[in-house]
Symmetry: C2
Subunit: 123 residues, 2 copies
DNA sequence: TTCTACCTTAACGTTACGGCAAGGTGTCCG
DNA sequence: CGGACACCTTGCCGTAACGTTAAGGTAGAA
């Protein structure tokens, strides 16, 4: 019932490896919101949400540093907002383009899988 | 009109970098079918076809070594065929699974892109 | 207290390339 | 024939995003 969980449970719930989760922390992408007395990472729900966001973005081929920046833009300090909005729009446009590319690649890959299956059928 | 082309033209036609094409050769994935007198790589149409196949498989996350094996299975020597067919079926099943995974990831990524756009709309 | 599962950092290894340096090749042009 | 110039070669070091031990500390139950 604790509101924090250890890295192992986070790994189970997200499907990410321990190594990946630690690496994401190292590059400043997702930092656990607490540590136990003995040094164990303790994650809360918002941390999980960040990890899930990263998982969603990853197939689009963004680099971890870009995702870090984008996550920062999504939780902004209420200071000068203008350039942030511009940057956000750039990310959004980029995301759309990458989605389109990925759709094309998927279609191509499905054709390949289909051809492979057909080949087995008549083998 | 030569039936062979140099690596630069191959790069233009496939969208792959020179570096990538050379690397694929290094790992035994796609070998140019000839070399010029002075050592330039010379590619023919079947080489292009192999490269295109690799491009199609790549989004499914196969490793280069696996693709090399699969390409070998697709152009077999007529010797003992049985284990090859079994292996082919494994690849085919794996390809189907990976297609399904990729479809799911794409859907998730598109939700993300949608959310980002929406967020910009109401700013 | 001791066992066990889970965690820690550190460090080296891997895949799939990118980038640059130093130099050879092919073809055309005067 | 001798440059000029685009294109190519190998070699080597660098990078991103992790995987994989190794050596040892922590939390909670028995």
């Amino acid at each position: 019932m604790g509101e924090h969980m250890q890295i192992g449970e986070v790994a189970d719930r997200t499907g990410l490896s321990l190594r990946t989760i630690r690496y994401y922390e190292k590059v400043g992408l997702v930092t656990p919101s607490a540590r136990s007395q003995g040094g164990f990472r303790l994650y809360a729900e918002p941390d999980l949400a960040r990890l899930e966001l990263v998982k969603r973005m990853k197939p689009l081929g963004f680099q971890l540093g870009q995702m870090r920046e984008l996550l920062g833009l999504l939780h902004p300090e209420p200071s000068d907002r203008r350039p942030e909005v511009d940057r956000l729009r750039e990310f959004s446009d980029s995301a759309e383009r990458r989605c389109a590319e990925l759709r094309a690649k998927l279609a191509s890959a499905e054709e390949f899988a289909q051809a492979l299956r057909t080949r087995l059928g008549q083998g």
